[in-house]
């Protein structure tokens, strides 16, 4: 009979390294994918996934099965991912501020040019389907992104996701609705190409968190 995650973790606590290897094998890919979809950088995602396993290993002596193992593990992963995204955003902001000082003239010229962003139809040509989906997920506010990833790909229960994101279940359901509503608008040409062609621009506004 297969041991549960909690049982495996209790065995790790008792000093069984093999149980840790089993947990690593089971959650390596889900964790790397979750983190990759959160931070959109393979190297950073792997580094963060290792950090999650390392923290799980470090905490083995104090481990008490008060919640599901996946809730605990994804809570660590989500916190690490959110910190990484925020740190990266600060770094990007600093870089862009430096660049704006250096290339003030170019910025000015760019502001004068009308919006030349490619349309979604052009993007569809230029990028693959998965890239567009990835971009739409990454455009979500971080908490909405984490909620969608945990709901859609990890298939955690509402109570579990609410615990991971430290919010109430009703707040989570509202968060998920807003996230899927934004994705519905952003991915409209993918799911129903005729919808976007006929939709007025006012209908396409997303709803941030």
């Amino acid at each position: 009979m297969a041991r549960t995650d909690v049982q495996l973790m209790l065995d790790v606590k008792a000093g069984d390294q093999q149980s840790f290897e089993l947990l690593l094998r089971k959650y390596r890919t889900p964790l790397v994918n979750f983190l990759y979809r959160m931070v959109r950088d393979t190297a950073v995602a792997e580094d963060l996934a290792q950090e999650v396993f390392l923290r799980v290993y470090r905490a083995r002596q104090e481990y008490a099965p008060s919640a599901k193992f996946t809730t605990w593990m994804f809570r660590i992963a989500t916190n690490l991912a959110l910190n990484s995204v925020r740190d990266n955003r600060h770094r990007q902001l600093e870089i862009s501020m430096d660049q704006s000082v250096d290339t003030g003239e170019e910025e000015q010229r760019a502001m004068e040019v009308p919006d030349r962003a490619p349309s979604v139809e052009q993007e569809l040509v230029a990028r693959s389907r998965s890239e567009l989906i990835m971009k739409a997920i990454h455009a979500l506010p971080e908490k909405q992104r984490a909620a969608v990833l945990l709901h859609k790909y990890q298939e955690l229960g509402y109570d579990e996701i609410a615990r991971v994101l430290e919010c109430s279940e009703s707040a989570l359901k509202s968060l998920l609705f807003r996230a899927y509503e934004t994705l519905r608008v952003e991915l409209a040409p993918l799911v129903n190409p005729t919808v976007r062609m006929n939709r007025a621009p006012a209908d396409r506004s997303g709803q941030p968190a």
């Binding site: 790397v32 390392l54 290993y57 359901k173 609705f177 129903n192």
Partner: protein, 181 residues
């Protein structure tokens, strides 16, 4: 007008239930309520249909695999971790343990030894002190015995005469302030 507002309210109420309904986790009563609303609201029906299509599209996102070096790198990081301290690790080194034990034994021994010393020089000094105090007491008694005031019983019983004796020297305020400095 009323029916329009009522319908809008129902659409808003559906928002928090729609995801739960679509992923099949809604309770039977909620599922029934959502289905009833969807049957009469074309915009919510369209939205629900598009939500389903979004979910299907999200399934197309390919999974990535961890790099082959992932496990080895993690094992190296774990190996670099300091080992957890067991109970025995909290014990001091044998040399320190011996020193602490010796100190404890000495303190217990010292506290059990009586404090009165019996050194001969100290005994002779104590005897001399007793003899000196005895001589002083006798001379004081002789002086008192010769005092004529003792013949007057009233003076002795009222002790008024004692008030005439000079009091102890008192310190001036300046001296007190000087002492507190």
């Amino acid at each position: 007008m009323f029916s329009k507002d009522s319908s809008k309210k129902q659409c808003t109420a559906l928002e928090n239930k729609l995801v739960e309904y679509l992923d099949g986790r809604a309770k039977p009563a909620e599922r029934h309520a959502v289905e009833e609303h969807l049957s009469g609201c074309a915009s919510c029906r369209l939205r629900a249909e598009e939500f389903r299509m979004v979910w299907t599209a999200l399934d197309d996102l390919p999974e990535i695999s961890a790099s082959p070096a992932f496990d080895a790198s993690l094992r190296a990081r774990i190996a670099a971790e300091p080992a957890p301290r067991s109970f025995w690790d909290w014990l001091p080194s044998p040399r320190l343990a011996f020193a602490v034990t010796a100190l404890l034994v000495m303190s217990v021994w010292l506290s059990s030894v009586p404090r009165v010393t019996t050194h001969p020089s100290m005994i002779s000094h104590a005897t001399e002190s007793i003899q000196t105090s005895k001589v002083t007491a006798e001379s004081d008694f002789g002086m008192i015995r010769d005092l004529p005031v003792l013949e007057n019983y009233d003076v002795v019983s009222k002790f008024d005469a004692l008030s005439e004796l000079p009091g102890p020297p008192t310190a001036s305020p300046e001296e007190v302030i000087r002492e507190t400095r």
